[in-house]
């Protein structure tokens, strides 16, 4: 009985922390530091605006979406771009994990380029 309860307790705690860890952050790019491999985003949450520094994990991808060029193929395809391509003012969405005190991005999707 106690084993079952302990398992349930563990599952609840795991689900709680996991759901807190897997969350996208979207915002407007305020700064790009290729050397430090970071993006500074201005994000709005709960009617407040703040700046978040997103660190690129080794191997993390930055992608934009372009129309498929093959004739007859519908939809969009991903095109990987280097961090230096990203410009201030673009709107991006980053999938991050909280490691230490840092937001570590595994993937950054470019939403709007302007």
């Amino acid at each position: 009985m106690s084993v079952i309860l302990a398992m349930i307790l563990t599952a609840v705690l795991w689900a709680w922390t996991a759901s807190a860890d897997e969350a996208p952050i979207s915002g407007t790019v305020k700064a790009v530091d290729v050397g430090a491999q970071t993006l500074t985003l201005e994000v709005a949450s709960k009617e407040k605006t703040r700046e978040v520094i997103v660190y690129m994990k080794p191997g993390a991808k930055i992608v934009r979406f372009i129309r498929a060029i093959e004739p007859g193929k519908p939809g969009f395809v991903e095109q990987e771009v280097p961090l230096g391509t990203v410009r201030i003012g673009w709107i991006v969405s980053a999938t991050t994990k909280h490691e230490g005190n840092r937001e570590m991005a595994e993937q950054v999707k470019i939403i709007v380029e302007r």
Binding site: M1, S2, L5, A6, I8, L9, V12, L13, W16, T17, S19, A20, A23, P24, I25, S26, G27, V43, A44, S45, K46, E47, K48, T49, F65, P74, G75, F76, E78, I91, S93, T95, T96, H98, E103, K109, I110, I111, V112, R114
Partner: protein
């Protein structure tokens, strides 16, 4: 014994955790609150600067506009909103606040056209959407008004509705306003908004003013030229300030100062909602091609010369025929005045600015002179006097109350 104690303790801890989960979901670092995703698309009323942007009826079903919108949608919108309009474009699925599903016919039906235009124009840069983490870009700088209408017309096709996107096709879009109207306005303005509520006659028995008929083209208090419908801002001002006037027994509760109460304590969103319903009673708001307003220039300095010219103009423009030489509303024509319903109507007593129905500030009096009061004998002087002359008259009229007190 120890096993029982452990089991009880585990159950208590588990119960606490589940309770905590329900009351306070796990903190997320993301800016989109996933528990409010649906709320993120709550169709709040468009602000006043967008409230009059009603899409021309023909746009929604015009094949050329829909084709133009499809082209724009494919290049600007589909990456988030999806080629199928389902909100599942490759960029959209990554967003904390997911794009709406345009195939959701109920959700689309609740979106008013001015709300939709506001969202396309301002994107997620305005509240309440900014605070919810919306990544929607503002398109007003890149797409013309017609382009934005076109893209809305194309998005509208996903819902499966093939008529114009207007309140009389989607009554649910004004449901909240209709409920507020039923509670606050029906007694005077009537169930259908025709100004025939059961207490209307008791406000001013057998004489003007009577409650407004919202289905007619006559609206007294406007910033628009004579003969035109008011702006939403005009309606908002009247709703907020009420209408000053003495009245019959039903106005005792309003202390005899107002014939329509002020709704300044009603939350702004509710006032905007009820006005969207009021406008839905009159298709003219959707059929006018553009909304022009009368500009009220900055008032000049008052001088004795200006007041003298105003006094002369007061006589020349025959204001005294109705309002009387000293402004008491007792001019020779006053007893014969009738409104458009053939009800006797009193000329305003200009010595009592607190009774000026359209407001007593210099800008209010100027606006009244230039726009007139539709449905009453008060004409528009827009074509007969110059701007400077209008100010002369305004300042002279405002001195009548001072003179009376001396």
């Amino acid at each position: 014994m120890a096993a029982k104690l452990f089991t009880s303790l585990a159950i208590v801890v588990l119960g606490l955790l589940v309770g905590l989960w329900l009351v306070h979901p796990p903190a997320t670092r993301a800016n989109g609150d996933k528990h409010e995703e649906k709320g993120g698309h709550a169709h709040v009323p468009a602000p006043l600067e967008y409230a009059d942007v009603h899409v021309p009826l023909s746009v929604w079903t015009d094949p050329a506009m829909i084709a133009r919108g499809k082209e724009i949608y494919a290049t600007r919108c589909a990456v988030c909103h999806g080629d199928q309009g389902d909100g599942k474009g490759p960029a959209g699925v990554a967003l904390p606040l997911k794009p709406p599903d345009f195939r959701d016919k109920d959700g689309v039906a609740e979106m008013r056209d001015n709300y939709w235009f506001w969202r396309v124009s301002e994107g997620g840069q305005v509240e309440p959407f900014k605070g919810k983490g919306s990544a929607m870009p503002p398109w007003k700088g890149e797409l013309s008004v017609e382009d934005r209408w076109a893209v809305m017309a194309y998005q509208h096709t996903y819902s499966g509705h093939d008529g114009p996107h207007v309140p009389w096709e989607h009554s649910e879009s004004v449901a909240m306003g209709r409920d507020i109207f039923a509670m606050a306005c029906v007694p005077c303005h009537g169930v259908a908004g025709k100004g025939d509520g059961s207490v209307g006659d008791m406000l001013a028995p057998r004489r003007a003013p009577q409650p407004r008929d919202f289905t007619s083209a006559e609206f007294k208090f406007r910033s628009t030229p004579s003969g035109q419908l008011p702006t939403t801002g005009d309606l908002f001002r009247t709703l907020t300030e009420g209408v000053r006037s003495g009245g019959g027994p039903m106005t005792i509760g309003l202390r005899g100062h107002r014939i329509m109460p002020s709704f300044q304590h009603m939350p702004i969103e509710q006032r905007l909602e009820v006005l969207e319903y009021v406008k839905s009673l009159n298709r003219g708001f959707w059929e006018r091609s553009e909304v022009k307003t009368v500009a009220v220039p900055a008032p000049p300095t008052v001088t004795p010369e200006r007041l003298a010219r105003g006094k002369q103009l007061y006589a020349d423009a025959e204001c005294l025929a109705c309002h009387g030489e000293r402004g008491h509303g007792d001019g020779p024509s006053a007893p014969t005045l009738k409104d458009s319903r053939e009800l006797p109507i009193a000329a305003t007593d200009l010595t009592k600015p607190e009774r000026f129905k359209n407001g007593a500030k210099p800008a209010d009096v100027y606006r009244t002179l230039v726009t007139g009061l539709a449905g009453t004998p008060m004409p528009s002087y827009a074509d007969s006097i110059e701007t400077d002359q209008a100010w002369d008259l305004v300042f002279y009229v405002l001195t009548l109350s001072n003179n009376d007190r001396r």
